[in-house]
Symmetry: C2
């Protein structure tokens, strides 16, 4: 099976699983870090074993080591292990059972409240925080940190899945976690030991030529029909309904209802103190 490779597989095997085609001619440089990153698959089925002692602290150290715009560190993370709270968060986040199942649920928070506090502690203005730019900066900072944590968790053999559905009900999530104004949950992350009875595969991506451009942006739409066929084959191999990528995308972008409440995100952000000027 081409989707079985792990971080101890060769880069060539990981490449074949990710792109469903052989790597380019000539040896690609590789190492254990790159192989670990390339072996990612989202895990939505977890064993009951808790996350081992110290793993969260190591992963957060990796997260805090990621770049941060102006060293603003405009994020926080809430680690939820309480089963009742996980169950409530699962209901708020698209009713996804694996959130309640994973022993650890991290809620990653874009956090401008700390910067506001710093300015207010010295009775200074903080007008820049009211601009969309500051929110975008915070989302990027939060995402860099979370991705480093994801890489760290996976390097320990744990599985993760991001949960964008925490944006379905930002106010309710904020109430549940006691989030102050100028903070918002951007995404969640389930962490746990993958349930070996439900192994997951490396999902094929668009060929590099569709996303990597040289000197100027150069489209790449001509790659989509082949990728559609690739994704249909992948889903069939996984025992899922035969559906190509285009059909999946179209179903999810067609109207506001497809956003599952996230069409209200702008209003919710304003309500949470992000003016988004």
């Amino acid at each position: 099976m081409t989707d079985a490779p792990t971080s101890s597989s060769s880069l060539a095997d990981l490449w074949k699983a990710r792109y469903r085609q052989p790597p380019p001619d000539g040896a690609l440089p590789e190492n254990v870090v790159v192989r670990s990153l390339m072996a990612h698959r989202s895990v939505r089925s977890f064993s009951t074993a808790p996350v081992p002692q110290g793993v969260l602290e190591s992963a957060i150290a990796a997260a805090q080591s990621a770049s941060s715009s102006c060293n603003f560190q405009a994020w926080s993370v809430v680690a939820v292990t309480d089963p009742q709270r996980r169950a409530r968060l699962a209901r708020l986040a698209g009713d996804q059972a694996f959130i309640a199942q994973a022993p650890l649920f991290l809620v990653w928070v874009a956090d401008l409240s700390r910067l506001e506090h710093v300015a207010e502690a010295q009775a200074r203005p903080h007008v820049a925080l009211d601009y969309l730019e500051s929110f975008v900066m915070a989302v990027a900072d939060t995402s860099f940190a979370a991705q480093n944590a994801a890489a760290a968790f996976e390097s320990f053999g744990l599985g993760i899945v991001y949960v964008g559905a925490v944006r379905n009900h930002p106010s309710e999530i904020a109430s549940e976690l006691g989030l102050p104004p100028r903070t918002v949950a951007v995404f969640g992350m389930c962490v746990g030991h993958p349930d070996r009875r439900h192994p997951t595969a490396i999902k094929p991506r668009l060929p590099q030529s569709a996303v990597l451009h040289h000197e100027k942006y150069a489209g790449g739409e001509e790659e989509i029909p082949a990728y559609d066929a690739c994704m249909t084959r992948f889903r069939t191999d996984q025992g899922l309904s035969a559906q190509d990528w285009s059909t999946s995308v179209i179903g999810r972008v067609r109207d506001a209802a497809a956003l599952h409440g996230r069409d209200r995100l702008r209003m919710e952000l304003v309500r949470r103190g992000f003016e988004l000027r």
Copy 2:
């Protein structure tokens, strides 16, 4: 020196450099991936040596292996090596000399144009793309991908620095790179061999207790005075002016002018086809 550790140092030494305090009691789990992530420092001075053959392709394979919301893959990256173009981009992005100096400048692009193309190719609606939610999702996807690439570059001994200043002049950057509507440069990334004559240190971060919360958000502002003192010592050690973190933050959030043009980001995004409803 506590800021000298590299990915081959112990986790304890990396922890001390990052937090300026010893790690918690009890062994923290660690491995080469976590140490490589923790050894990050931004590099703003590069040798003239080009990025070795194949490194970009390996790094982009790592980037594409990051999680992607709904498998939308809503990002692109433009790799710029042409010296004239790098010089023009450097001028547009805060006139920062290291952009022209780095042999490779990556412009990371939030890209909803591919999804629009998929829907339009089948004459289907794509109303969800007009919502702020879709832009936020694209920024997060782009950031996950870029952070994996950063980790890959650094694992090969290369240095990187993110460049948020590509958001100062989004339209001009788009013209330079031929970016279509519904795409925008979210940040740049310089890549190259660090100039050994100007080594950079691991920057201290807030203690974990300020960003990692358990079950409920719990502030952490009480940690800021000690961190202010820590950053002043760090800057003095680096031969920089003695400035604490609060002062640096206050200078950057005080007014719209401190955003260097990014106070127009919302208008620029609307102009580029993101309705941000």
